[in-house]
Every structure is written in structure tokens, then in C-alpha cells.
């Protein structure tokens, strides 16, 4: 056995990956298959699953109804499609905002003196020490009608003698967007920083030496060479935003229902695991499709090896 481990390369490989492999099979692959099976079943009155093979849940997701209020035999109820497109556009906006905020910051850190970079990276990671949910609650404190922001503005308005009606910020799309960007920004900063930091200074010098002004150098060197980081960051932000329900639950209230909330509700409130499973799988498929086309266009974040 030991001798085999010493000499057999493929056996070494198998030993090295087996813990993760077993873990993934037991806790990812099998549950996923179960989800698939359940999604074809139907809900029993007591909330358990009647196994079967019907596409009812998927048809319901698509919004096509056979029982309609206006008496027609076929009609479209776009509620789930709306939830999906809302999730997609929120994930898209979050990603774009995160790129716009993360890029300059990552650039700044990558260009800072080497001994300061670690301090900056450390500062970016500090908020992660606090629990995810607590950080979302902090935003509620800030955004509430009687929250910190409104109080401060109200106090300032009072100083100059103006009447101030507090802003309704909490439980809006904007609040959810702010929360999402806040939660996921570090996941955009770090990969962009990594790819920017790898660009050799001499490449910038060579570009300037060959006659490129700073903006041209940015467009032709910095940007293309940092694309792998942007791609990696986009995947790290877009995918979780599509599925998260905590942020929209707390900052969006009942108003802003995302796919994540829909799934959560199906399992915990409506007690319909079959429809919840179908929605989960659809979310996964959609995320995979978006990621697939995105990475086909921009690569998989693989590094351009500096010769």
C-alpha cells in the first residue's frame, strides 16, 4: 500500500482528491439529483412530496396557466418571469457597480508601495470579520426612516430651519442594490487587484517609451491585462447575488422578491418543496448559461503568462 503510494502517480492523485471528492458527491451531487427528482413530483396536502414524473412545476414557473380568471383556457402569468428578470438585472447592476468601484481601488492598491499593500488589503477584509447578517442589519440602521442617515440630514435641516421629510430608503430596490454591492465588493476587489499587481511596471514604461500617453497605456496595457481579474470577480459576484435572499429579505422587505426569496418561501412558508426544487434548478441553469456565455466571450479568468 505504502509502496503503491510512493510509486503510482495516478494513485497519488486519487488519494489526494478523494476527501474532497467524497464530500462533494455526498453533499452536492446526491442532493442535487434529489432536488431534480423532487422537482418532477407534486406536493401532498401535508407538505410532503408525492414522487412522480410531471413537468407541472416547470410549466408553472414559465407562467403558462390553463386555469385563468378571464375564462380562457390558456394565459400567461408573468410573476415568476418578473422575479427572474428582477434578479438578473439586480445581479447585473450589482456586478457593474462593483466593477466600477473596485477597479480604481484595486489599481490604487496595486500601485501603492509594496509594504503598504498588505495594510490596504487587510482593511478591505476587516468588515468580513463581522457576520454577514449583522452587516446587513447595520445597513437597516442606516437606511431606516428614523435611521442614522435621515436623522443626520434632519438635524442639519433643523439647523438651517428647513422642514425635512425623511427619505424612504429602506425596502426599495436601491437599498437592496447598495446592500449587495457592499456585501460582495471585496470579491471584486481582490481578483482585480491580483491581476493588476501582476502587471510588470516595465510594461507601462515600455508603453510610454513607445509613445503612448497615460490614457492609451491604460486602454492598451492595463485594461486588457487585468481582464482575467475582472472576469473572476464578475463570476464571484454575479453568481452569489443571483441566489442570495438575506439581503433582499432584510433590505427589500416584502417588496423586492428575488429568486432566492422565492425558493426560500416555497420551502419554508408555502411548504412546497417540489416547486422550490424546480425554481432552484432553474436558477442554477440560468446562472450557468449566463456564466457560460460570459466566459466564452472573455475567457475563464485564466492568466496571461508574462513571458
Amino acid at each position: 500500500m505504502l509502496r503503491k503510494l510512493r510509486e503510482d502517480r495516478s494513485f497519488q492523485g486519487a488519494v489526494l482528491i478523494s476527501p474532497t471528492l467524497l464530500f462533494m458527491i455526498g453533499l452536492l451531487i446526491i442532493p442535487l439529483l434529489l432536488t431534480l427528482v423532487i422537482s418532477f413530483g407534486s406536493r401532498a396536502p401535508d407538505g410532503t412530496v408525492i414522487y412522480g414524473f410531471s413537468f407541472d412545476n416547470y410549466v408553472r414557473l414559465s407562467g403558462v396557466r390553463t386555469e385563468c380568471d378571464n375564462g380562457k383556457s390558456l394565459c400567461l402569468d408573468p410573476i415568476y418571469i418578473q422575479i427572474l428578470s428582477r434578479s438578473l438585472s439586480l445581479a447585473f447592476n450589482t456586478t457593474v457597480l462593483a466593477i466600477l468601484m473596485a477597479y480604481p481601488l484595486a489599481y490604487f492598491i496595486a500601485r501603492a508601495p509594496a509594504r503598504k499593500r498588505n495594510t490596504f488589503l487587510f482593511l478591505i477584509l476587516v468588515p468580513m470579520w463581522t457576520n454577514f447578517i449583522i452587516r446587513v442589519y447595520a445597513w437597516m440602521m442606516l437606511l431606516r426612516t428614523q435611521g442614522v442617515i435621515n436623522s443626520v440630514i434632519g438635524w442639519l435641516a433643523g439647523l438651517v430651519g428647513l422642514h425635512f421629510t425623511p427619505f424612504e430608503m429602506l425596502y426599495t430596490q436601491g437599498a437592496v442594490l447598495v446592500g449587495m454591492v457592499y456585501e460582495f465588493l471585496p470579491f471584486m476587489i481582490l481578483p482585480i487587484y491580483t491581476s493588476l499587481e501582476k502587471i510588470e511596471l516595465s510594461l507601462y514604461e515600455a508603453s510610454a517609451d513607445l509613445g503612448a500617453r497615460p490614457f492609451r497605456t491604460f486602454l492598451r496595457m492595463t485594461l486588457p491585462l487585468s481582464i482575467p481579474g475582472v472576469v473572476a470577480g464578475t463570476i464571484l459576484v454575479f453568481v452569489p447575488v443571483m441566489g442570495t435572499f438575506i439581503v433582499s429579505d432584510l433590505l427589500g422587505g416584502r417588496q423586492i422578491v428575488l429568486v432566492g426569496n422565492l425558493i426560500q418561501n416555497q420551502f419554508l412558508i408555502a411548504r412546497d418543496p417540489t416547486f422550490g426544487s424546480a425554481a432552484s434548478l432553474m436558477l442554477m441553469t440560468l446562472t450557468l448559461i449566463v456564466t457560460y456565455f460570459y466566459t466564452r466571450k472573455f475567457g475563464f479568468g485564466e492568466e496571461i503568462v508574462t513571458a
Binding site: 510610454a208 513607445l210 509613445g211 513571458a307
Partner: protein
């Protein structure tokens, strides 16, 4: 046209250190580089040669003093507005662009028309023998090929001056020797002024029209290779360029360009050539190149002839390198093997008693600093 292509006038560059003090990277350097010249800056690492080059390129600005290109003061002009191009030590090829795109980059920045770019890129790649490699990415090229791309990329812009920062440093010895000759030939072909930074004295001697030897941010000597090697003006230059033996002593008498030096370790006097300003009574060193010292079996001359014992020999084909114990210190002597023989008697052997003979013109008397 200005006589000097590049001129550094009393240039100082100080860098702040993390501890809050300052270091002199370049300390009052003045150099005048002529049009069409192959000029080398030579010195050990940290001597200020690369910083000087970077100030010509515009990556650094002088703390004090001024850099002139074609008679024009550069001040704080950025690199993209200077008529010079650089070949970087690391090549700094753009990894996401093909060979042709790398070479075309500088021309695109000048808004050269597309057909013209195509023609000039083709021409220059042919010149550096890279035709057919246009579509390769830098990482698919060997070190020597990458080096040629870097060269082509800089030369295609027809700069007034080409700056080369140890461009052959990363190549293996054989390729480096080949590239030295090629670079020199290329420079003569294009007629562009080359300013070349290296720490390799042999490289500098092989290629340069003139060499500036630098140490600790200062220029110690500027001259043609033969001047630098045969008439070094200081102990450092004599030591850094080629190999040499030093004997310390005291100047006893000076007669025109001959200096009589008392060498305590030999308890004898040695007559040498005055290669730097020295006065009677000064502590001096005598520099003697190993190939310029002769060994003899008996006392050949009345003066400059010293008895020693062979410590060690190494036969290296063209020469036999002999180490002689001379007054308690080792002295290197290279005896050229001018006669082809297998007879061991023809070669020196350890333990042999010999006479070391050095002609006054081969013993350079320098200040001991």
C-alpha cells in the same frame, strides 16, 4: 545638427530611502555622447548606470542638472515625448500582443498609416531575422528571439538614440557572444546612436566606441576600450576592467612619466609608468596585467626583476595561468603557449624558482584609493 546626441550635464539623482534619508544614485555625472556612437556605461550594480539611462529615457528626472537630447534640454518631459526608445533588461514585451503587434505598437502611437506600419514592421523583422514569427506571442519565443523583438520594437520607430539596459543579461553565454556581434553590426547598419548599459566588461570592450566606467554614482573614466584597458586612471578602473595584479608601495622618485616605487613586500624598487597624477611620497599601487608580465629562469634585467616561486599552474589551452608567490603575495601571470609541445619541461610547475620581469610601461602607477 548638434555634435552631441545625448548630453548629461552635472546630473544628480537622489532617491529617498524608507528610513527617511537620501541616497545618491547618480552623483554629478557629466557625459557627452556623440552622434552615431556606440556608447557604453559600465560598472557594478548600484553604480548609477541604469539610473543615468532611465533619466535619458524620461522614466526618472534629475534632482539637479540637465539631460540634453540633440541639444534640447529635456527637463521633466515624459518618456512619450522624447525621441529615444529603450530595450529593457526584461524585454518588457506585451504578453497579450503578437510579435507584429508588439513591433507595430510604437508606430500606431505615432498615427502612422496602416500600410506604412505593415511595411516597416515587415522590414525590421527581416532585419532582426524574425520573418515568419509575426503571429507568435512573446511566450512562444526563445529568449534570443524575445530579445530581437524588443530590439525591433524600439528600432522600428527610428529613434535618435536607442537606449539598451543590459539587453543580453538573460541570455546564455554563447548566444550572448553572437548577439554582441550582431548588435554591433546592426548599430553600424542603422547608424543610430546606441547607449548601452552593462556590468559585463568584456561585452563593453567588444562593442563600444567609447565606455564610461562608473562606480558609486560617479563617472571614473570615459574613453575608447583601448584607453580604458591600457591606461586606466584609477585603481577601480584597472581592477574592474580585465584582470590585474596590484602591488602597494610608496612613490620615491618621479622622472617625466616614469615613477620609481618602493614596494615593501619585495623590499625592492620597481619602475613604472605614471598613469595618474602622483607625487613623491604618495602611497601608490602598481597595476600589472597578468598577460603583460614575463617569467624567466634567470635574472634577465638589472631592474624590475623579482624572484618568486611558482605556487600553482592551470593549463587552459591558449595560455598557462601561473600563480607566483612574490614577496608573500600571489601574483597572476598568463604565459601564452606559443609552442606546441607535450614536453612537461616546457611548462612551469609548482615549486619552481622563477624571475618575474615587468617592463616599466606595463607597470601602471596609480593613486592608492
Amino acid at each position: 545638427m548638434n555634435e552631441f546626441c545625448v548630453e548629461l550635464r552635472d546630473v544628480v539623482k537622489r532617491f529617498p530611502t524608507p528610513e527617511g534619508s537620501e541616497v545618491f544614485a547618480v552623483d554629478h555625472v557629466t557625459m557627452q555622447i556623440k552622434n552615431g556612437e556606440f556608447f557604453s556605461m559600465l560598472g557594478p550594480s548600484g553604480c548609477g548606470k541604469t539610473t543615468s539611462l532611465r533619466m535619458v529615457a524620461g522614466f526618472e528626472w534629475p534632482t539637479v542638472g540637465e539631460v540634453y537630447i540633440e541639444g534640447e534640454a529635456m527637463g521633466r518631459r515624459p518618456p512619450y515625448l522624447r525621441p529615444v526608445n529603450t530595450v529593457f533588461q526584461s524585454y518588457a514585451l506585451f504578453p497579450h500582443m503578437s510579435v507584429a503587434e508588439n513591433v507595430a505598437y510604437g508606430l500606431e502611437m505615432e498615427k502612422t498609416p496602416k500600410y506604412e506600419i505593415k511595411r516597416r514592421v515587415g522590414e525590421i523583422l527581416e532585419m532582426v531575422k524574425l520573418s515568419g514569427m509575426e503571429r507568435r506571442k512573446p511566450r512562444q519565443l526563445s529568449g534570443g528571439q524575445q530579445q530581437r523583438v524588443a530590439l525591433a520594437r524600439a528600432l522600428v520607430k527610428h529613434p535618435k538614440v536607442l537606449l539598451l539596459d543590459e539587453p543580453l543579461g538573460a541570455l546564455d553565454l554563447k548566444l550572448r557572444k553572437e548577439m554582441q556581434l550582431e548588435l554591433k553590426a546592426l548599430q553600424q547598419e542603422v547608424g543610430i546612436t546606441f547607449v548601452y548599459v552593462t556590468h559585463d566588461q568584456e561585452e563593453a570592450l567588444t562593442m563600444s566606441d567609447r565606455i564610461a566606467v562608473m562606480d558609486h554614482g560617479r563617472v571614473l573614466q570615459i574613453g575608447a576600450p583601448v584607453e580604458i584597458y591600457e591606461r586606466p586612471n584609477s585603481r577601480f578602473v584597472a581592477d574592474f576592467i580585465g584582470e590585474t595584479n596590484f602591488l602597494s608601495g610608496e612613490a620615491r622618485a618621479i622622472e617625466e612619466d616614469r615613477v620609481t616605487v618602493y614596494i615593501p613586500s619585495l623590499k625592492d624598487e620597481l619602475v613604472g609608468a605614471k598613469a595618474a597624477p602622483v607625487n613623491v611620497g604618495d602611497q601608490v599601487v602598481v597595476s600589472m596585467r597578468p598577460e603583460k608580465i614575463r617569467l624567466a629562469s634567470d635574472r634577465a634585467l638589472p631592474q624590475n626583476c623579482f624572484s618568486g616561486i611558482v605556487l600553482n599552474t592551470a593549463y587552459i589551452g591558449s595560455d598557462t595561468r601561473v600563480i607566483v608567490d612574490l614577496g608573500g603575495a600571489p601574483l597572476a601571470v598568463w604565459e601564452q603557449n606559443k609552442i606546441s609541445t607535450l614536453d612537461p619541461e616546457a611548462y612551469y610547475a609548482p615549486g619552481e624558482q622563477v624571475w618575474v620581469v615587468v617592463l616599466p610601461e606595463n607597470a601602471l602607477v596609480l593613486q592608492d584609493v
